[in-house]
Assembly symmetry: C2
Homo-oligomer: 193 residues x 2
C-alpha cells in the first residue's frame, strides 16, 4: 500500500498582529503589503517587521498578514533562548492564553503585548477532502516520518491534524525541527504513519 505523504514546510519566526496593534506600530489605517503569498490561502509574508523585545534581547521579526484577532509571536526554542524567554509554552496557533508577553516596537510606536509569545506546536493543515481521503479527523494526534535527511531520519510523534476548508494540505514545523531532521532541501515530504 502506498504511504500517505504531505509536504513539510519550515516556518521561521514571525508575528501576527491585530488591527489595533498595527495601527500603533505602523500608524492608523496602515495596510500590510504582500511580499509573497504563502501556501495557506489568504496568508502572506510582508516586508513589515517589528522589533520583539524579550527579557534578555530583541530581534526584528517579520509580520505575517492579514491582521488577526490576537497578537501572536511564534519563536523557535533557539530564538527563545536568544531573547531570554524561558519555558515558552508549545501551543497551537490561536491558543495564547497565559503565555508570556513582550514589547513590540514599530516605526510609529510600541505596544506591550500581555500574552502571545509561543513555540508553535507542529501540525498538519488538511483540507476536509484530504482529511477524509487519509482517514484523519480535526485535532487527531498523528505520527509523521521525516527524512532520511542524509542521516537524520526521525518520526515526529506528537503532530496535531487540523482540518478546515480554509486550509491547504501542508505540514508545518519550525527550523529547529527542520534542522533536527536535516530536511532543509527542496519540498521535503513527510509520511503520515
Amino acid at each position: 500500500m502506498p504511504g500517505i505523504f504531505v509536504e513539510i514546510e519550515g516556518s521561521g519566526r514571525h508575528c501576527h498582529v491585530t488591527r489595533e496593534t498595527l495601527d500603533t506600530l505602523y500608524g492608523a489605517g496602515f495596510e500590510l503589503e504582500v511580499k509573497k503569498w504563502l501556501t495557506q490561502p489568504g496568508q502572506f509574508a510582508t516586508p513589515q517587521k517589528v522589533k520583539v523585545t524579550g527579557p534578555r534581547g530583541s530581534a526584528e521579526i517579520s509580520i505575517i498578514g492579514p491582521c488577526r484577532k490576537a497578537d501572536q509571536i511564534e519563536l523557535s526554542l533557539t530564538d527563545a533562548r536568544a531573547l531570554g524567554f524561558a519555558d515558552l509554552p508549545i501551543r497551537e496557533s490561536g491558543d495564547v492564553a497565559g503565555s508570556p508577553g513582550c514589547k513590540l516596537t514599530g516605526p510609529n510606536g510600541e505596544v506591550d503585548v500581555k500574552e502571545g509569545v509561543i513555540i508553535a506546536k507542529r501540525h498538519v493543515h488538511l483540507t476536509p477532502e484530504d482529511a477524509e481521503k487519509f482517514g484523519l479527523k480535526d485535532k487527531q494526534i498523528i505520527q509523521v516520518k521525516a527524512g532520511p535527511g542524509g542521516g537524520r531520519a526521525l518520526i515526529f510523534d506528537d503532530v496535531v491534524a487540523r482540518v478546515s476548508h480554509e486550509y491547504a494540505t501542508y505540514m508545518h514545523v519550525d527550523y529547529d525541527e527542520i534542522n533536527a531532521a536535516a530536511i532543509s532541501g527542496e519540498k521535503p515530504m513527510g509520511e503520515i504513519l
Copy 2:
C-alpha cells in the same frame, strides 16, 4: 516489560584539535585547561576558544580536550547556516574525510584546516556491559524515543550505537535536536525502542 532508557545530553558546537594545531593556535606546548569534566571518560570542556571562520561569518567556539588525531569542528545546522556552510555532511565523530574545511584563529596564530567541519550524527555511547544488557551491537542503527517534552515527543529514527570500553552510556544529540524535542530540562531520558 520495562523499557531501556538512556540519558540524552545536548552537545553544543565545539572543536577538537590536534597537538600541532594547538601549538599554532595557542603556542608551542600549550596545555588545554580543564574547565569541567564531561561524562565521557577523559573528555573535558576547556576555557580555550578558537575563532572558526566559514564562508560567510565566524564564531568563537570552545575547544574540547584532550587533543585528538585530527581537527574536527562540530556545528549544528543552525550554526552552519550562520557561518555560511552549505551542505555540511552528517558524520560520526572521527569521520571527516572530504568534509569542508575552515580557518581557525587563536591568540598565537591561525590554521587553515583542510577538512573537518561536520554536523554530528546522533549517537548513543555504550559501555560493553550496557550494550550486552540492552542487546545492542557497535554500529547498530536504533530508534530512540524522546519527550514528551511538553508537546514535542519524537522518535529519533537513525541513531548509531557506539560501543567501547572507553565510553560511558549516554546519548548525544545537538541543540537543534534538543529543541525539536523540547527536552532542554534536567536529565532528559530517551527510550531505546
